[in-house]
């Protein structure tokens, strides 16, 4: 039988506020245990929560970016359960009325060279606080509790079960990941747990429209784990069904070392969280004017930008996707393309190619790229006007990179940038391409004279020998010969 995998994701995005969702304590990562837990986070007797406006503003931003409804009022509720790193004995979350309802995410899927679009609907996104951390190592027979993370604001984004493969789930997660960074609500740092996924996975016979029993895999903190966990889980469920068994609704954990999921708890031991509206917090009212304000401040969204790149620049979906992976990237690209409007594709190739590779190598973002877009644009212009070849350009690029110092400020704010750096290097090292036909003809003739064997082979029909001769000419020209011209002259001379 053919099986179809059905996947819905719940993503916890940590909101990038400076202070916690219900207290004034800092949300900075990496402080000494409990150094950033104030009286409210510790749930001392008598303390009360006060909602962080910045967290709400970020939730609104998200809602607008995915075309969702912003609920007003929305209600904060208490989710009651006991756990040592949950100081109040309840988590403040949203239950019946979340702040964001509905919305959708558009996926661009490039698979086997084919480009497809798909829409994933969102159920809701709600605000809640994170719990602390239990540390089970380092304390003989005891556990340590670190409440620094307790009260960190989270936006839980719940999708409909609209994905049909682990690959689609990964694309959805990546697009969402890019979106939350794009609109500046989450730093997306997956190692630090700022963006965590839970996957609801079920399988059903191909063609069926009934959902199978699902299992939820908790806390997947990398795209690779997400993919592996879903693949494993789908296979596990299919095997059970094919053996005539039934799926039990469970919460499962992924073990990255074994590449397996294992049961954590079943539906029968599901806790009764006794949700009820938190009497310490009033219903959250969001005015239309506030929503308008947030809307005005929203940047162009990646989806709109992708469409624009495809239409205005004639880029492929693949290129448009890569260039809009984050805002730094797209802004850099647009700054380059603005200076070279006649070849946006060349700009795209270089931004995604050399620049991206060098930045990756040094762990830098586009914003702090040592070469400014103007500097890069001049280099690309020299390729376009035939001053240098693409190959030489790579060498010039390497030298440019070596000459600029590391930058601690964004290229947007730099002063006194040497925009003629590329020209100076080309000039001082005499890298200008030889396009003078007389000079080239002379070079070619010298090579032909020195390599009679290759000439003979070519005349005997070996096309390879032609390439060898081109190589020799380029070598003699120290790479500066215009390749197209060399080709032309060589062929002419050989067939004379």
């Amino acid at each position: 039988m053919q099986w179809e995998t059905v996947i819905g994701l719940e993503v916890h995005a940590q909101l990038s506020t400076e202070s916690k969702i219900f207290s004034g304590a800092s949300t900075a990562f990496g402080a000494a245990p409990n150094a950033e837990a104030c009286a409210v986070d510790l749930a001392l007797p008598g303390v009360l929560p006060v909602l962080n406006r910045g967290a709400v503003e970020r939730a609104i931003r998200f809602g607008l970016a995915v075309g969702a409804k912003i609920n007003s009022p929305s209600i904060f509720a208490r989710k009651n359960y006991f756990y040592p790193d949950l100081p109040k004995g309840y988590q403040i979350s949203q239950y019946e009325l979340p702040v964001v309802e509905g919305g959708h995410i558009q996926l661009q899927i490039v698979q086997d060279g084919k480009e497809q679009e798909k829409t994933v609907r969102l159920v809701r996104a709600h605000l809640e606080e994170d719990a602390g951390k239990s540390l089970h190592e380092d304390f003989h027979g005891m556990s340590g509790i670190d409440l620094n993370r307790a009260g960190t604001p989270l936006l839980e984004i719940v999708s409909e079960p609209d994905m049909r493969s682990s690959a689609e789930a990964v694309v959805y997660a990546k697009i969402l990941h890019s979106l939350v960074r794009w609109i500046g609500i989450c730093d997306g740092n997956m190692q630090e747990g700022s963006f965590r996924c839970d996957a609801n996975v079920s399988v059903r016979p191909q063609g069926s429209d009934k959902l199978g029993t699902r299992c939820e895999i908790k806390n997947l903190n990398s795209f690779r784990f997400l993919e592996k966990a879903i693949d494993y889980e789908a296979r596990r469920q299919i095997e059970i069904l094919e053996d005539g068994g039934a799926i039990q609704q469970q919460t499962r954990l992924f073990d990255p070392e074994k590449g397996e999921t294992r049961a954590m708890r079943s539906k029968e031991d599901a806790q009764d969280y006794r949700y009820f509206p938190d009497p310490d917090l009033l219903p959250l009212e969001i005015s239309g004017s506030w929503i308008e304000e947030v809307k005005k401040a929203l940047p162009e969204l990646p989806q709109q930008m992708r469409n624009r790149f495809e239409h205005d620049y004639g880029l492929s979906m693949y290129d448009a996707l890569a260039l809009t992976a984050d805002r730094d990237n797209s802004e850099y690209y647009e700054a380059v393309a603005e200076k070279l409007p006649f070849d946006p594709k060349l700009c795209a190739n270089w931004v995604m190619g050399e620049v991206s590779a060098y930045l990756n190598n040094e762990g830098k973002s586009f914003d702090f790229c040592p070469l400014s877009p103007a500097q890069l644009a001049q280099l690309l212009l020299r390729i376009k006007d035939g001053t240098i070849s693409g190959k030489i350009a790579k060498d010039v690029f390497r030298q440019m990179w070596a000459q600029v110092s590391a930058e601690s400020i964004s290229w947007k704010n730099r002063k006194g940038v040497d925009e003629n750096l590329a020209d100076r290097i080309i000039e001082s090292q005499g890298l200008k391409q030889i396009s003078d036909s007389n000079a080239l003809e002379k070079l070619v003739q010298e090579v032909l004279t020195a390599n009679p064997k290759s000439v003979e082979e070519f005349k005997a029909g070996k096309e390879k020998a032609f390439n060898a001769l081109v190589g020799q000419v380029m070598k003699a020209a120290k790479g500066k010969a215009n390749p197209a011209q060399v080709n032309e002259i060589l062929r002419k001379k050989l067939t004379e």
């Binding site: 510790l42 007797p45 008598g46 009360l48 006060v50 100081p87 109040k88 009820f276 310490d280």
Partner: protein, 483 residues
């Protein structure tokens, strides 16, 4: 001096007739002497109190004294007080020294008042007799065989026995007004949201409200001036212009319309209580007030509604007492769940456990709609009842409690009987209204009777005026129990 009003004490301090150190010393001496018999205080800390008095004397000497500077105030042990044991009457917090001050404590500190000690209370404010305290019951100073009422029984006793000139209390279902009535003092529960709950250990968040307890309405007004005001740390705190609650004290009552709810004057009230309350209402007529009969048809539902909502919130509010971070932890346990079980089994008393169980039950899956949602709907109906009644009257009066103080042990084994002692006070909390109790005489066994005065939202100044005018014409509030 024991019977002096706050205004008189303040004048004495300002005129250097007495220093705060002397005044505080006198009340401390008296509290030390009487406490073994009454058990009104959980903590007395002479050293800290006298240091505060010293600081107050400096303030007064430099001319920066305010109305309560240098005056000793007893604080209910529900308010977190930096450096003081803050037990909330529970074994669970019997080792909890608060690292911070509640908003109310901060206000009194800023006013230069002296904290004379932390008063005894029903455990986590759950009780109407002060018998649920881990620190033992408080005695009624009028008759030590009787309860002082609860949960602010320690504060009521301290003021009645003149161990402190005034005290703070909290009121979730009557916890200021009922003990005030049973101890023959004055007590005020303000409109919900008027006094910040920050640092006040939560029982039922949507009902809890702090307020003053004192000998007279005039004293209550001065206390409320210090306690009330917006606090950004409490999301239910109301942002309002500050007011002087003493501003209308002297207004005549001519033309005042007093609403008498038909449902309050029923056979459930003891005759002695009814007699004293009717006499007080007679006095009001003499002062120029008119009475009108009003109806609060859902009154009988207030106790069942309250005993769904308050335990529901309490069951969640008290989850933080888990032995992990502070407070009591069971000495021996096998694992984390065993630690929770034993800590909470040993750390909470029977009444607290009963309410946690009720609250957990009514919030459970499958029962939530039938209990919690239903109770919330009825709660709104009760608020509507009051709104209707206030169309016909300015103020509502009745008995604070259907009986005078009952004997210690008399109701402690019968929770339903105990819950009924708050039958008149609870609806006020459900509606979020302000209300007070003032002494209007004595009943059975010479035990005090309180008059319940319920005002419309934010009518504290008017209520205090109504109470003050009665107290100008009577002397019940100046009576002192024999030692």
């Amino acid at each position: 001096m024991l019977n002096a009003s706050l205004k008189q004490l303040s004048a004495m301090l300002a005129a250097s007739k007495i220093s705060s150190v002397e005044l505080t010393g006198e009340f401390l001496k008296r509290s030390r002497a009487l406490n073994p018999a009454y058990n009104a205080f959980i903590t007395l800390d002479e050293e800290t109190s006298l240091a505060q008095a010293q600081a107050a004397d400096t303030l007064i000497a430099s001319g920066r004294g305010q109305s309560l500077t240098g005056i000793p105030i007893a604080q209910k042990d529900i308010f977190c007080t930096k450096g003081w044991l803050t037990s909330c009457g529970s074994k669970m917090l019997s080792n909890f020294i608060s690292p911070y001050d509640a908003h109310v404590i901060g206000r009194f500190n800023a006013a230069g008042a002296v904290n004379i000690g932390k008063t005894n209370m029903d455990e986590f404010a759950m009780g109407s007799s002060n018998e649920t305290s881990f620190y033992g019951p408080v005695k009624n100073p009028w008759d030590t065989a009787a309860v002082p009422g609860g949960s602010s029984g320690g504060s009521a006793c301290a003021v009645a026995a003149r161990m402190a000139p005034a005290a703070t209390g909290t009121d979730t279902g009557g916890s200021i007004r009922q003990p005030a009535a049973l101890c023959g003092i004055s007590g005020l529960k303000p409109t919900y949201g008027l006094v910040s709950r920050y640092g006040m250990i939560a029982f039922a968040s949507s009902l809890d409200q702090a307020g003053p307890m004192a000998k007279s309405a005039e004293d209550l007004a001065l206390m409320l001036n210090v306690m009330a005001g917006f606090d950004a740390r409490d999301s239910t705190s109301l942002e309002r212009e500050p007011e002087d609650y003493a501003r209308d004290l002297e207004k005549p009552l001519e033309g005042l319309r007093i609403g008498l709810p038909r449902e309050y004057f029923v056979k459930e009230i003891d005759e002695d209580v009814a007699r004293a309350v009717e006499a007080a209402i007679g006095q009001y007529r003499k002062l120029g007030a008119k009475t009108v009969e009003v109806s609060l048809p859902n009154t009988k539902l207030s106790v069942p509604v309250y005993y769904v909502l308050a335990p529901a919130e309490a069951s969640s509010n008290l989850s933080r007492f888990d032995g992990v971070r502070y407070g009591y932890r069971a000495p021996d346990y096998l694992d984390i769940n065993d630690m929770y079980r034993k800590t909470r089994a040993q750390g909470f008393g029977a009444e607290v456990k009963r309410r946690i169980l009720i609250g957990t039950y009514v919030l459970s899956h499958g029962y939530y709609d039938a209990y919690y949602i239903q109770a919330q709907k009825l709660r709104r109906l009760m608020a509507q009842d009051f709104a209707e009644a206030f169309k016909q009257c300015d103020i509502i009066m009745g008995p604070t409690s259907p009986t005078v103080a009952f004997n210690l042990g008399e109701r402690s084994s019968d929770p339903v009987q105990m819950y009924l002692s708050d039958a008149y006070t609870i609806a006020v909390n459900l509606a979020g209204l302000p209300a007070m109790s003032i002494p209007v005489g004595f009943g059975h066994k010479n035990r005090p009777v309180g008059l319940h005065i319920i005002g419309n939202y934010f009518s504290e100044a008017q209520m205090l005026n109504v109470a003050h005018q009665y107290q100008l014409a009577s002397d019940w509030h100046t009576r002192m129990p024999k030692e």
